[in-house]
């Protein structure tokens, strides 16, 4: 179905997620690259050898969760915007998620906006914690938001409709 709709199945998504223990330890990447394409900037961008592609640039990136610092440098480097960072170390009720976001207007810290699933459906509201847009990110800002743990495996996007 994925190849017909662009929506990865729950099993495909779960395979890319680290264990809940790792998530609770601190920030870590989730690299949602499911199909072999000739591309390796994530590996090049990582200073910690946490993403490995190897000699054949068509290989699917492998993540070494123990090496990942959650620095999120790879988020703005991935041409497919396929990487996010998840951090469950801050709260028992919520997780913090960082995503690349290339639309205007950018959200502001403190905004509560719509949280969307991988199908683009509004599943919950999320609180924006941080918006990073330095020159080195080359016009791919990175947004940090806080979301209820119940939605941590389903949320993948935001929509800038500020919720009251």
């Amino acid at each position: 179905m994925f190849e017909k709709t662009g929506i990865p199945s729950k099993e495909m998504v779960m395979e890319k997620f680290p264990t809940i223990d790792r998530i609770n330890q601190g920030p870590v990447v989730v690299v949602e690259c499911y199909k072999e394409i000739p591309c390796n900037p994530c590996q090049t961008a990582c200073k910690f050898d946490a993403i490995y592609i190897g000699e054949d640039i068509n290989s699917i990136p492998k993540v070494k969760n123990e090496n990942c610092s959650g620095c999120a440098i790879c988020l703005s480097k991935c041409p497919g915007l396929a990487i996010m960072v998840i951090d469950g170390s801050k709260s028992d009720e919520t997780v913090q998620i960082r995503i690349p976001y290339e639309l205007l207007p950018l959200p502001k810290e403190g905004d509560v906006v719509k949280g969307l699933s991988r199908e683009g459906e509004h599943i919950t509201n999320v609180k924006i914690l941080k918006v990073l847009n330095p020159k080195s990110f080359d016009r791919t800002p990175v947004i940090t938001f806080e979301v209820d743990r119940n939605y941590m495996y389903d949320i993948r996007n935001i929509k800038m409709e500020v919720q009251s």
Binding site: F2, E3, K4, T5, G6, I7, P8, E32, C33, Y34, K35, E36, I37, P38, C39, N40, P41, T44, A45, D56, I57, N58, K77, C78, P79, G80, L81, A82, E102, L103, L104, L116, S117, R118, E119, G120, E121, D138, R139, T140, R156, N157, K159
Partner: protein, 361 residues
Amino acid sequence: MREADLVVVGGGPAGLCAAISAASSGANVLVIERNKKLGGQLVKQTHMFFGSEKQYASTRGIDITDILLNELKKYNNQVEIMTDTTVVGMFEDGVITALHKEDKYFKIKPKATVIATGAFEKSLAFPNNDLPGIYGAGAVQTLMNVYGVKPGDKVLMVGAGNIGLIVSYQLMQAGVEVVAILDAASKIGGYLVHASKIRRMGVPILTSHTVKEAIGKDCVEKVIVCKVDDKFKQIEGSEIEFDVDVMCVSVGLTPLNELLAMRGCEMKYIPQLSGSVPVRDENYETTVENVFAAGDATGVEEASAAMVEGYLAGICASAKIGYKPDNFEERKQDYVKQLSDLRSGPVGQHILSGIEQIVVK
């Protein structure tokens, strides 16, 4: 009659790289570009490129033009660039005729030529496909990303290849609603990371769907689409209507090959390369001596491959006419390896099966 060591026809990614590579080998190069600006399709590609570092991966297409032009500047006294100039003929005696700024013809006889004319968009046949508001994806991308003009408010995208997916995303970035992306194929043709990216913005992708007809008085107002079976036959009763003011057709590209055919290069129709392409050797030299080709004109692929092909054809063409750098073999092998890396995946296999049919040893 003008003279030059090497004429490069086309100032897009392949042509610019061919010019850099030939000039760095010591040849004098004339680049002829029919548009007013160099860069070809790069000038509207606001997205980041795939590939690896050597093909400027993760850099936006719009910025790659500047990188290539800065590189070319290093060879200022060897390189001449003529924009707004169209090559209109290539003849048996090696003479090229070109039209400069629509009013001045001139002739030039180079020692070698690299044809990097690129590709053009295919069209789709359906009733009323000539209504205003129905665009090729390239035109929409040019309007938005080069001229800053919004093409409309609600768009239906036809074609889920990389261009259709990327232009849909860029339409959303420009604040235009994309109501759906459809494709007659049963699977999404483009990279799935692009598909997922646009899907999670809420845009449905309808595979096995085609356009039945467009409706409108002075411009498109409505598009009727329907499902197709596995033989691409329209299924009665499966119609869906979309109220849109723009329909964007992105059903693939085909090589722009007239000059190669006119010059007498042996051509072959290769479906995997999206059209009629020149038979060539591994140095990208065609069956006509000293006429080389590179980029989409030799088969439609990503711009990353076009750039490497340009570098390779440029260095081989200059070597052929007597400008062979000391590190020729090393550089050549590097380009060959880069191309093989880019083509080693599932998408590349398809391209390679086409290339096998046109390369003569």
